[in-house]
């Protein structure tokens, strides 16, 4: 018995020694590789983590990334977060990309403040982290931010709302309601503040009145950017504020999905459709604009944004610093993230044909 045991321990020790010889990651730590310092292989892996497939925009972006990165000669791993477990899924996907050795990870965050552990690990493994469309907050480990100028988007929406109402009814005061996006998306506040930048002076002058008095970004929020949430909020606003003879002249909606939900709610209540803004140029909304229901949308051409992002990846590959045009405005709570911003374009029925001339899916709708 005792002999056997001694033998077994000897075998065990041998096994330990044999296993000790197996690879150890400690030496090849990439912790101090500076971002964009030396560049990387031309066929390196590029990870793209996008939110769940809740809007046409993200689905299109995913396809464009897959094809675009392939054309540029990179390997790509494009992932969407699952619909029900978005945050945890995206965290796991970013970690998987890091493990696979991605050199650049492009992230369209589901919850902008809940990714700091994962991007820190990606950064330490030597990847460059690019926040796509939504700024990642609460972390020093974001290298670049690329998006359309969202404050400008808000300003354009606010202006479109005023113009639209003026066209229908030359003199005020106008009664409006305000909607904003999901509070966990950093952009929601930026859109809203941009719009308020234009609307606030008019509200202060008394020219524009918010019927329900709900002007705070918290009160106007639409959790998860979900259409059903916007619709039910509009339903209750109609019941509480516009039950009597009061007319609603305009609704500030941050995007198209919500705009259509708001219009559905108003139609359901049998009221005339007010001026409703939007964003994203979704197919259904472009149809709605051409039919004279929704007033405006914003064209943030996803093709352009993806193309610019891939350009950024190409620049990083060569080892030089990519182009940025804003190094002041995007503070994520820990640092100011250098940003490359693209200009958005407001689209109404009047300029739709011109705005979508190059878009194979949308241009037939405008004829």
């Amino acid at each position: 018995m005792r002999k056997m045991l001694i033998k077994s321990l000897a075998v065990g020790a041998a096994a330990v020694l044999a296993l000790t010889a197996c690879s150890n990651d400690r030496e090849k730590s990439g912790g101090d590789t500076p971002a964009g310092g030396k560049g990387f292989a031309k066929d390196a892996l590029i990870g793209v983590a996008l939110p769940s497939k809740t809007s046409e925009n993200w689905v299109l972006a995913g396809d464009l990334f897959t094809n675009g990165l392939k054309e540029a000669g990179f390997q790509s791993d494009v992932q969407y977060a699952g619909a029900s477990t978005t945050v945890a899924d995206q965290q796991a996907q970013i970690t998987a990309m890091t493990t696979k050795g991605a050199k650049v990870i492009v992230i369209g965050a589901t919850d902008a403040a809940q990714l700091s552990t994962q991007v820190a690990a990606a950064k330490q493994a030597g990847a460059v982290v690019v926040a796509y469309d939504r700024l990642i907050t609460n972390t020093p480990d974001v290298d670049y931010y690329i998006a359309f100028d969202n404050f400008k988007v808000g300003q354009l929406q606010g202006q479109a709302l005023l113009d639209g109402m003026k066209a229908k009814k030359p003199t005020g005061p106008y009664t409006i309601e305000l909607f904003s996006g999901s509070p966990d998306d950093n952009n929601s506040g930026v859109f809203f503040n941009g719009a308020m930048d234009v609307l606030k002076p008019e509200i202060d002058k008394g020219n524009v009145v918010v019927g329900s008095g709900q002007t705070d970004v918290k009160q106007t929020a639409t959790q998860g950017w979900k259409a059903e949430n916007a619709q039910s909020r509009m339903d209750s606003l109609l019941n509480s504020t516009y039950n009597g003879g009061k007319t609603l002249d305009g609704v500030l909606s941050p995007n198209d999905t919500l705009a259509r939900a708001i219009i559905t709610s108003i139609k359901g209540a049998g009221k005339p459709i007010p001026v409703v803004t939007g964003q994203d140029s979704e197919v259904e909304s472009v149809k709605s604009i051409m039919a004279g229901e929704q007033y405006s949308t914003i064209n943030k051409d996803t093709r352009k944004l993806v193309a610019e992002t891939i350009n950024m990846v190409k620049t990083l590959q060569t080892g030089s610093d990519p182009q940025v045009n804003d190094t002041k405005s995007y503070n994520n709570g820990v640092k100011v993230v250098p940003a490359y911003l693209l200009p958005p374009l407001i689209v109404t029925k009047a300029n739709a044909a011109e705005a979508y001339a190059n878009d194979p899916k949308l241009s037939p709708l405008t004829k």
Binding site: R26, Q93, T95, L115
Partner: protein, 429 residues
């Protein structure tokens, strides 16, 4: 008896039911090997093993509590919401009301206990089915999360993040590995060897029980020590600054404690008795209400802990925390062999069940499978695993669920061999 059967008998501890447990472990090993090959060696890389542990520690913490709830014949649908609610309370307390973070953890556990007492009261003393009570809880605490958090994302300070994103610190001389992780591995090896020797001793002392041949014990020790050493070196040899995660340690402690409790104490056995036949249990003197109350309360405390681990790992508490966690936890418990009707299942089985799902999920992500396909495959896998088990049981053959009924039979041999399998499982997490 055929030769293979005899080998099985010897290798896995004497009875055929012991051999059945082998199937579940074999499935896990099979999945790991498959992905290890198809991802070109990424699955068992240090970084991936560490990430895997951190990603699923909170689900496994939940599945421990869920196992006990399901064994007692209930279900808890509120765990995700309870976790999210606790998360936001703790995050707000720490970041906006200057509560020091260790106190924040205690606060979180207290909140979990209060919620648990609330749900336990309705289930045990009023007699409303747990399905309904926790469905109400699911809405109640999800709403509570959004009410308190304003549907906002609230960050937590670095100290608190340790419980979800922290690692064993570097200490001692530079050995090229994380020393504390090595120490932990050494302890695990010692425990495995001690257990094996002790089980032999116990069996020798018992009349009529004959210990397995010595060479069997030797093989068992060697295999397990090899697995532990491999895992230890992987965890200890990751990128500098990373090692065995704190959340993994929390999980390991809970697994050992709850395995012991459910298997070896009267209180733990009462849960099985209640789930198996509550009337009979009550007549035998088991305090039915108390058991039900404690099981529901325990679940909410563990849910609170899981919520805090997730918040710590995410560095912030958000409005989408905890969504569909209950489903992940329940799936782990059933893949791990628990019965829907209650009375059957083990903590170890649930951990392996959770691990199977975790490795599957991770492997699919490493191979670049989209989240839509991942969900489809996981769904089919869950159905397939349980269906196969039910089919085999009907055929009177190999049954995974059957293998987990052993604790009920209270065979001396089962007592001695099961813990070793347990260690094998915990060592892998």
């Amino acid at each position: 008896m055929s030769r293979t059967k005899e080998l099985q008998k010897n290798l896995f501890g004497g009875t055929t039911s012991n051999a059945r447990q082998f199937v579940m472990i074999a499935t896990l090993v099979g999945i790991i090997l498959y992905f290890q090959i198809s991802t070109g060696g990424l699955t068992l890389q240090s970084g991936n093993l560490i990430a895997l542990t951190q990603q699923y520690a909170y689900i496994s913490v939940l599945s421990i509590g869920m196992l006990m709830v399901i064994v007692a014949g209930h279900i808890d649908l509120s765990v995700g919401s309870v976790a999210a609610f606790t998360g936001i309370v703790v995050a707000k307390a720490i970041s906006q009301h200057d509560v020091p973070w260790p106190a924040g953890i205690l606060l979180g556990l207290a909140v979990g206990a209060l919620i648990g007492a609330w749900q336990g009261f309705w289930v045990a003393y009023v007699g409303i089915p747990a399905f309904i009570v926790t469905l109400a809880g699911m809405l109640l605490f999800r709403g509570g999360n959004q009410y308190i958090g304003n549907a906002d994302t609230v960050p937590v300070p670095p100290g608190f993040r340790e419980i979800g994103a922290g690692y064993l610190p570097e200490a001692g001389p530079d050995t090229g590995y994380n020393n504390l992780t090595l120490l932990l591995g050494l302890l695990a090896c010692a425990a495995v060897i001690w257990r094996e020797l002790r089980s032999r001793q116990v069996r020798k002392q018992m009349e009529g029980a004959e210990p397995a041949p010595l060479w069997i014990s030797v093989i068992r020790i060697v295999v397990m020590v090899a697995v532990i050493v491999f895992a230890t070196l992987r965890f200890a040899g990751g990128r500098i600054g990373t090692s065995f995660p704190i959340s993994g340690i929390i999980l390991a402690v809970l697994v050992i404690a709850y395995s012991y409790y459910t298997r070896n104490t009267a209180g733990g056995r009462h849960i099985y008795a209640v789930g198996g036949n509550s009337r009979a249990a009550e007549l035998s003197g088991v305090k039915l209400r108390r058991v039900n109350f404690m099981v529901m309360m325990n679940m909410s405390i563990l849910a609170a802990l899981a919520g805090m681990i997730f918040v710590a790992r995410s560095a912030a508490s958000g409005p989408q925390d905890g969504l569909s966690w209950e489903l992940d936890a329940i799936a782990a418990v059933f893949i791990g062999g628990a019965a829907v009707s209650g009375g059957l299942g083990t903590v170890g089985g649930s951990i392996v069940g959770g691990l199977v799902m975790a490795v599957l999920n991770n492997g699919l992500q490493l191979t670049g499978t989209g989240s839509d396909m991942v969900q489809i495959i996981k769904g089919l896998f869950l159905l397939g695993a349980v269906a196969l088990d039910v089919y085999n049981k009907k055929q009177g053959r190999f049954s995974i669920i059957g293998s987990l009924t052993r604790p009920l039979r209270r065979e001396p041999s089962a007592q001695s061999s099961d813990p070793t399998a347990q260690d094998r499982e915990t060592a892998r997490i």
